[in-house]
């Protein structure tokens, strides 16, 4: 569980996050949605420790990040898995080496043990037999799945995903969404996912936080988001033609 209390973050004169309070629950997919520039990525980077908050606290399982010693911070980071928007696979390494990387860096396992775990996770993300390929030799969707495999190989407690579906076709996007949700439930992970893809919200939005101009404007579930009358949320959710039609149909009782 990650608890965010009164989080403020700004750059120069501009305040990007304006006192956010929110709890990301364990074993659930926690989505952060909002328009571009609403502060989603800054929020995520604060949680990852890449940005230092100006004010407020972020607690990991009840312990504030600011109270962590350097060693504890490093340990915490080994418990985090991150899926970057572009995958961020190391392009000089094969798929197998990419997935094995966290194990090589942080465990004292034998190579055979590491390879066993790597093959397990590659199988879990349906990428058996791709271990010897380079990231440039596989498709964007496969790269995302390799990145997921790398993020979960060290059995993280927290999984962060930054727009995991960007640049993917709808079918592959659904596969990635479902994979993230399944892994979250299977391993009881606290998953935090940034998206502005409403299909993802429909698929896996167990808990949703809506950010607007650095403020937490709304929170709820995927069922609640389509019923809310909150103007800011409806403006965002029904900005696409498809969802406008869905809403019309709902209103007409179809």
């Amino acid at each position: 569980m990650i608890q965010v209390k009164n989080l403020h973050k700004g750059f120069n004169e501009q305040e990007v996050l304006k006192g956010i309070n929110y709890t990301f629950e364990r074993g659930k997919t926690n989505l952060i949605i909002g328009q571009s520039g609403s502060g989603k990525s800054v929020f995520l980077k604060c949680m990852l420790g890449l940005f230092k908050a100006d004010k407020g606290t972020i607690e990991y399982d009840g312990k504030p990040y600011s109270s962590f010693s350097d060693e504890e911070q490093r340990e915490l980071r080994t418990e985090m898995g991150m899926l970057f928007q572009g995958g961020a696979l190391f392009d000089s390494m094969t798929v197998e080496e990419n997935v094995m990387f966290p194990l090589t860096m942080f465990t004292k396992q034998r190579k055979s043990e590491m390879l066993k775990r790597v093959h397990e996770v590659l199988e879990r993300v349906n990428l058996e037999g791709t271990g010897n390929k380079m990231p440039s030799e596989i498709s964007g969707g496969m790269q995302k799945r390799v990145a997921i495999a790398r993020a979960i190989v060290n059995k993280p407690k927290y999984l962060f995903c930054d727009e995991p579906n960007s640049g993917l076709d709808p079918q592959t996007a659904t596969v990635i969404d479902n994979l993230i949700m399944e892994l979250t439930h299977e391993n009881d992970i606290t998953t935090v996912l940034i998206t502005h893809d409403m299909n993802s919200v429909l698929e896996i939005g167990e808990r949703i936080a809506f950010l607007k101009e650095g403020v937490l404007a709304w929170k709820g579930t995927k069922d609640e988001i389509f019923k809310t009358e909150d103007e800011a949320v409806t403006e965002f959710v029904y900005s696409s033609n498809l969802f406008q039609k869905v809403r019309k149909a709902q209103q007409q009782g179809m």
């Binding site: 991150m82 392009d91 966290p102 090589t104 962060f160």
Partner: protein, 245 residues
């Protein structure tokens, strides 16, 4: 102010490079990989250039020695002095700023653009140490490249001078041994070690702190070459002033 900021940032980067170390077994593999890419990968072009520049130095010297009172062996003496003192350590380092420096900047810059450096940081890895420290250690073998350059430069001078009919083999060997000062080699290799550090760190700085996309990676590589060359030339002047004057 921008320059001061960059200089400060460079030294802070160096502090980070020598901060928390990457796991030894991983580091060992990275160092061997860097030696292969940075050093072994440069031997071909360095050998080629050194041989032919050495040859040209010998021909130019021979063609300008018209006075019968000046011994022919001076061709070898002049070639030796120019190659050991300046051509091999300085000129080759500037070429390496283009070859190795651009490679370092673009490879680290691409990692920055594609969030690979962020990925390392999120995993709790000291990305500066992981990416830059192995390059610094690999570049400690750079004097080997310069030694090869010196040898082949003099070999090129020998071939051009002797087979071109400017001097006899004996005259060349005599000139090569004439008035030899061992300290000149020490000076050349002190410079080489400093240049190796500059070649590993200045391009790394330009790659590590670059912002933007693919276009900016190209711009960073060009800027990196310019600044690496500037720093090399200024360092060359300072070291020469300190050690030889």
């Amino acid at each position: 102010m921008t320059y001061l900021h960059s200089i400060g940032e460079y030294f802070l980067m160096l502090k980070g490079v020598f901060g928390r170390m990457t796991k030894g077994s991983v580091l060992k593999n990275l160092i061997f990989k860097e030696i292969n890419e940075l050093i072994m990968g440069s031997l071909g072009i360095v050998s080629f250039l050194s041989f032919f520049i050495g040859a040209v130095i010998a021909i130019q010297t021979a063609l300008n020695l018209n006075n019968p009172l000046i011994p022919k062996s001076l061709v070898a003496f002049a070639a030796r002095q120019s190659i050991i003192l300046e051509f091999a350590p300085t000129f080759i380092s500037i070429i390496m700023a283009g070859k190795v420096g651009s490679f370092i900047t673009s490879s680290i810059g691409s990692m920055r653009v594609t969030e690979q450096i962020d990925a390392l940081e999120v995993m709790g890895i000291n990305s500066k140490n992981y990416l830059i420290f192995p390059k610094i250690i690999a570049m400690l073998t750079y004097p080997f490249v310069i030694a090869v350059s010196m040898f082949l430069g003099i070999a090129g001078a020998y071939c051009a001078a002797v087979f071109g009919g400017f001097v006899t083999s004996d005259q060349f060997i005599t000139g090569l041994q004439d008035d030899f000062d061992g300290f000149h080699l020490t000076y050349a290799f002190i410079k080489t070690f400093l240049f190796a550090f500059i070649l590993a760190t200045v391009p790394s700085y330009h790659g590590y702190y670059m912002k933007g996309g693919a276009l900016e990676v190209g711009e960073a590589s060009t800027t990196s070459f310019v600044w690496t060359s500037v720093v090399l030339i200024v360092t060359n002047y300072l070291v020469t002033q300190l050690l030889l004057s």
